[in-house]
Symmetry: C2
Subunit: 283 residues, 2 copies
């Protein structure tokens, strides 16, 4: 059996970021204002600090200003909501990213809902979830949005295909299923309570693994010729798909790393510039 | 083969409305204020007029005041949004129902979003869709909510079961799938672009037909012993399920009429009283 073709998220993300940087430059030249992403971090969790720093660096390289708001770990829900509302009202800020998860003492949903939908470039608000679900204009959650771009780049049309999403988180599994449904796939959501996961996954023309369990999906679960998107992140750069066996069954497959991962931040940057274009009256 | 047991929505809805009426009376006695549902109708479409009148009558019998706002057919989106915002801000109104579909010249989504989520007893806002999808507290769309109550009343636990939803509308198919997913079903969405609908439906332990095509689902599409919920409405009181053949395959089935239909308005009334209880500080 021939091996699957790799879906190169690194190369695609690079092209998207290059285009985004050109748009950011054009916008800055035309309006005198650079796109600005506000990043909000509560506490000093080392992984979160690293993620935010990486996003700021990527913004800078793409011609996007970032404004960082660092809040102490003891910040209350009310204080965080106040900060996010102020950023939502600030005309110099075009996009807002709340690094999450936030501490357990904070009502994360209340915080997300304090982000104005027109600045929700990370796609975390109720409004963004609903517009994704109903196929309406709006910002998408970044990883689901990146997955759809990958499918498009490899000419995978979801219409009429069976798509199986393994995982049902609010920012990954649920929205990617809704985006696939909006593109006319027949979508099945599987999760920890699914009986006979293997059989369900074997129905799929498109598999999206988004559950965070290392190598949960194996080659024997994959229908020959399927498209396999591994959106799982597990320690040691291991995906939710057992790549070595899945690559023998699939027609197209995302590697980990270098598949879905780079698409997430590319989508964030692209949506930030789009938000700025709209708020500055250019788009 | 034995015939399916019928799921009697008429009897269940009656019990729910009786309980709701008792709660409405208790609330009125305790606070001096009766629960109030505002009904908003644009234009004079005869079917819409009938629906609204029926809802008002049912409110009255349940001890719920209704305030009717009749707007001319030429009402603009802006005017309708203004009306709905005023009702959202009016402390004497506890729930708001916009009879839809509204005219095509109106941005229905903008109108829905003008309804405050805490008064969205018809479950049409982005916020209600998202809370349904994420398993959070909030109001549900009335027909999906009624379907879940029917399943509970007949001791059908969705957890771990395969549920197939045929249809993907914003107020029926999509939310009922999300409610089933929140209750741990493995959920598949089918629709007009699904290839081999029969095979997909035959996977289901629970079928929800919500597509508006008369007798689309036949007995041969039903796995023996499945639960069949017919939420389809077609001219002549015909459902989306071919009852006569499906009843021979299913274990439980909703008749049309007398299945899902009565549950919708019961859910509306129940949510209106719940909204009033919360706004009057009793719940």
């Amino acid at each position: 059996m021939s091996q699957a073709r790799l879906m190169d998220g690194t190369a695609l993300a690079r092209r998207i970021v290059e285009d985004t940087a050109k748009r950011a430059t054009a916008l800055t030249e035309r309006t005198g204002t650079a796109p600005c992403l506000a990043t909000v971090l509560v506490g000093e969790d080392p992984a979160s600090v690293t993620y935010v720093r990486m996003k700021q660096n990527r913004c800078r390289k793409a011609g996007i200003t970032s404004r960082h708001v660092a809040l102490p770990a003891a910040t209350t829900t009310e204080e965080l909501v106040g900060t996010l509302r102020a950023l939502s009202a600030d005309p110099e800020v075009h996009g807002i990213l709340l690094q999450h998860p936030v501490g357990e003492h904070i009502d994360e949903r209340a915080a997300f809902e304090a982000i104005a939908p027109e600045k929700d470039v990370d796609g975390v608000t109720f409004a963004s979830f609903a517009t994704m679900s109903f196929g309406l204009p709006g910002f998408v959650s970044c990883t689901p949005g990146g997955i759809m771009r990958l499918l498009d780049a490899y000419d995978v049309d979801p219409a009429g295909k069976r798509a199986v999403v393994v995982g049902r988180s609010a920012i990954l599994g649920k929205p990617v299923g809704m985006l696939l449904l909006a593109r006319d796939a027949t979508v099945t959501y599987c999760h920890s309570r699914t009986r006979d996961l293997s059989s369900a996954v074997r129905e799929a023309d498109i598999v999206v693994a988004a559950v965070g369990r290392p190598r949960l999906i194996r080659g024997q679960d994959i229908k020959p010729g399927a498209v396999v998107i591994d959106a799982g992140y597990n320690a040691g750069n291991i995906g939710d798909v057992d790549f070595d066996s899945a690559v023998e069954q699939a027609a197209l497959i995302t590697p980990v790393p270098g598949g879905v991962g780079p698409m997430t931040i590319a989508t964030l940057l692209e949506q930030t510039v789009h938000a700025a274009e709209r708020q500055l009256g250019v788009a």
